[in-house]
Assembly symmetry: C2
């Protein structure tokens, strides 16, 4: 079975892109014609209407960019906001993106003690035993996980990765302003916490290398911290980086450059708001053409990143 990194590299090379589009559908920013149609079809169930609006909007985004990018990353918080209806929209979004030949990274940042992590791993990557029938539930290609509980909170995810050719991205150095509160603290041996976790990720993935030499155990490394990214690239030569923080959060092409290896591989760069709500900032496209605005923003980002990475 192909490992997740090999699948990702295939996508990157065939589409000539390292972009991950973040599907974070804030309801109030979805074009009003989609909101209104969803409400009209579900006059007595606003939560269902919200879910329908999200699904419709996401399909439009996916249709507009699926041939331009390797992967999408739906952030689950924006779906959990709408309870079980939101989680239906989450599942439908993953399913639709996969049907359009995209890899899906479920951004869920899950983690827990071993027996509970196993349940998360089955829900998002593997299969659930439902009265004796094994059913794939969310069935993402990869998910994000947090490292606070150490190895036995990670191991069950690695096992599902092996079993089903899936991947995980472990939070190492996150893109937010206060990420240093814990991640930049210096240890007794002068390493920072993010370096220690980087070393863990490299060792956790050592047995999971694919034919291109990359592991299915990746790392989240923010575009907003290029110096730390440079160190982490050396610590984890075999790990793929999922890089948030480009665009709306302030990171540019030069900032993400250190996330790549010399082969031009090793990272995918996420943009959410800047891509999916591009129509809001466009003079050329109105909301009826939000897909076109998104496609134009994606092409521009591919070009921008093309200036720093070749593969």
């Amino acid at each position: 079975m192909k490992n997740f990194a090999d699948k990702l590299i295939e996508q990157i090379q065939s589409k000539k892109s390292v972009i991950c589009v973040g599907l974070d559908p804030r309801l109030s920013k979805i074009p009003s014609f989609i909101q209104e149609a969803a409400l009209k079809e579900n006059p007595n169930n606003k939560l269902k209407a919200a879910a329908e609006a999200i699904i419709e909007f996401n399909k439009g985004i996916i249709d507009a960019v699926h041939d331009l990018i390797p992967c999408v990353k739906p952030q689950v918080a924006f779906y959990e906001l709408f309870g079980e209806e939101g989680m239906r929209a989450y599942r439908e979004t993953i399913k639709y993106a996969k049907s359009k030949n995209l890899l899906v990274i479920a951004d869920v940042k899950r983690n827990d003690i071993g027996s509970t992590a196993e349940a998360y791993a089955r829900a998002f990557l593997g299969k659930t035993d439902v009265f004796g029938e094994l059913m794939a539930i969310f069935d993402a290609d990869a998910i994000t996980v947090t490292p606070y509980l150490g190895w036995d909170g990670i191991k069950p995810f690695v096992e599902e990765c092996k079993k089903y050719g899936k991947g995980i991205f472990v939070l190492v150095k996150t893109s937010n302003p206060s990420s240093g509160d814990l991640q930049d603290l210096k240890m007794e041996d002068k390493n920072s916490v993010y370096e220690i976790i980087g070393n863990f990720v490299e060792s956790w993935g050592a047995d999971e290398l694919g034919k291109n030499g990359y592991s299915s155990i990746g790392a989240v490394v923010g575009a907003t911290y290029p110096d730390q990214a440079e160190k982490l690239r050396k610590i984890m030569p075999n790990s793929f980086f999922l890089v948030p923080g480009y665009g709306a959060q302030g990171g540019g092409a030069q900032d993400v450059k250190p996330c790549f290896n010399e082969d031009g591989l090793g990272a995918v760069v996420n943009s959410s708001r800047g891509i999916i709500f591009a129509y809001e900032k466009s003079d050329k496209y109105d909301e009826g053409d939000y897909g076109k605005a998104t496609r134009a923003a994606t092409l521009a980002m591919n070009e921008d990143l093309g200036s720093v990475v070749e593969f």
Copy 2:
């Protein structure tokens, strides 16, 4: 408005108990008569049947113990296993427990960058704006969160706590065997990571004290590490501890003693498997009487903890 700690103390004192019952409903361990009835009622939808079995089982547990304990803690991974149907069961479980005068700690271990953490906070503690209508979705009394992203991943939760009288428990020292991988690492200043995070929690909660002197910002501290718990009790005199690891994971009454302050307050002790699946290990009760077995196990645990804590 009462803060969460005051609500919890009221419950503890009126019920004379510091137990939190973990609602982690593994489908295969639910009594077979409940499984069969749910399948019979939903012959063409196994996921719905699973959700119905979980709801029915949880109601039986809640009915059996609601007058004996202050709070319950449903672990969301065991619900996410069943997709949107599972999340419906999660919401229904929270709602039912609250209707029976229990506080509900949603064990979701969420965290992200600020704008995403805000979405999680609204989903689980606050309200969602659904086409202009503010709706409470999961509406738990408190949730668990992870600290890896630092203050700006915590702040949005604290804001919902203030607004709605809710609480959070931040992972500090978890109960699992490998929790030390990161949490026990020594910093340059000789403190361990768990002590640093403990200090953060104390400072994050400093402005959130209720009339009993306890903050709405609590900590998760495992029963399996009593020495670390003793240190943490001193670092965080004003924080409530949510203590997993009693029973099935190996912690006993003497192990949880250091989690309490001298006033006999400051902690609730969770047990999941040992309580909710007590019928499996009972000679006295068969599965038809699973509620009775659970009640007996809860009474025994109240007695056991009563030997080390007075309030």
